[in-house]
Symmetry: C2
Subunit: 262 residues, 2 copies
Amino acid sequence: MLFLLLSLRRFVRIILNDVMKTKFIHTYVSVDCVVFGFDNNQFSILLVQLDKERIGNKNLKLPGGLIYDHEDVDMAALRILYELTGIKRMNLRQFRCFSSPDRASHPDDIRWMDRAYQPNIDRLITVSYLSLCKIDKKLKNISGFKSTQWCKLNELPVMPFDHNQIVEASFLEIRRWVEHDLAVMFDLLPHKFTFSQFHALYEAVYNRKIDPRNFYKKVKNMAYVVQLDEKQPNVRHRAAHYYKFDKHIYKMVKNQFVILNS
Amino acid sequence: MLFLLLSLRRFVRIILNDVMKTKFIHTYVSVDCVVFGFDNNQFSILLVQLDKERIGNKNLKLPGGLIYDHEDVDMAALRILYELTGIKRMNLRQFRCFSSPDRASHPDDIRWMDRAYQPNIDRLITVSYLSLCKIDKKLKNISGFKSTQWCKLNELPVMPFDHNQIVEASFLEIRRWVEHDLAVMFDLLPHKFTFSQFHALYEAVYNRKIDPRNFYKKVKNMAYVVQLDEKQPNVRHRAAHYYKFDKHIYKMVKNQFVILNS
């Protein structure tokens, strides 16, 4: 009798262990990067063209991919962006892990993963990265690179997986980032920028109209936004002054006021 | 000859595919929570006692565990904290994925994972969460709960995996969080707090001395920090006033100045 009970107990434990085992998540991990550029007073995002590798009828997705065994997620994000854009050092910021159980369960997504990586990727979670990218030089380089293209934020297509949702979350994250460290804002502007470019960027980040006169007063108080002698070329009337961002002054100001600001 | 070449090509591709397959990371995913409390003018962190399940000679670790198939990481973090503390709704914030290839490769860590979960966990990446927890009520409840204990931040033991590193990173993250939304600071204070408690919390967050007179001026300018008529009981001389945080005023002020502050 005791033997029977012990056997039963052992049997139950084996079954339970088995159930428990399948419950723990064993998964593949990818990174996805949302690279923001700012041009003509609006945000653009860097996307990868899939062409022959279309996912269903979707031809654009965020730059990303599975991470390798020897990498951590930060290394993988830098590698993937380098492979796609040729830029080695991007100011990348990890901002969230997207891990909904059904984020990669659309039949089109599954078929694509089977082809692109290997069959039977049972579940895929992704760690997303955010990058702000200067317009003047990098924008042009990148858009000439391989199978990437810039796409206006307000004209984004429907993308595979949860990539639209990731972009939406990353746009909110920009505000947090800017509020914590205003310096990143200037990663989006050319080295020399006009007041109206700066104003348009603020409007884009906060996604609303901002009174230009109030904003002008604010900018005048930013010791680290320095007005240059130079004006816009080829403009006859009321050519706008150029400004530049002085990161040394910014650091001094920030260190001095870090507690007062918070 | 052509046949040979084709066979060779196919052979090379199979080998390459095989190499590629093993290179993609197939991993288990866990969450780890850093719960901060603030008492006697210093930070404490909630840790789990391992007792019989010691990892080498380490007896304390961050609350955390593997996520289940049906969960995303947010759900898993809430579940694990509920299981350990009985608190259902914690103000949890996901803050970083730790994924170094060797973060769970110490023989003690591997042996423990074999016992606690299942053998052959080839790699474990973790998504970390941060929570700030009010002292007065929750602190006592939690410390009486099962196998958890509060541990002073400056007396932390050496912990398994990269848990010490996670705590270090989360401490920096608190500052970012506070700078983005000062309201979270009051999650750490009792409902009624004295000026010196508030001052001590600021000093703890910024990990440096802050002149109390300047800080007092600052607090006087915070419309949302409201002085109460009530004073500390049982203090004969110079009993301190109590203050409270008014979140409605805070919201109004914040909405009004969101652009001016940034």
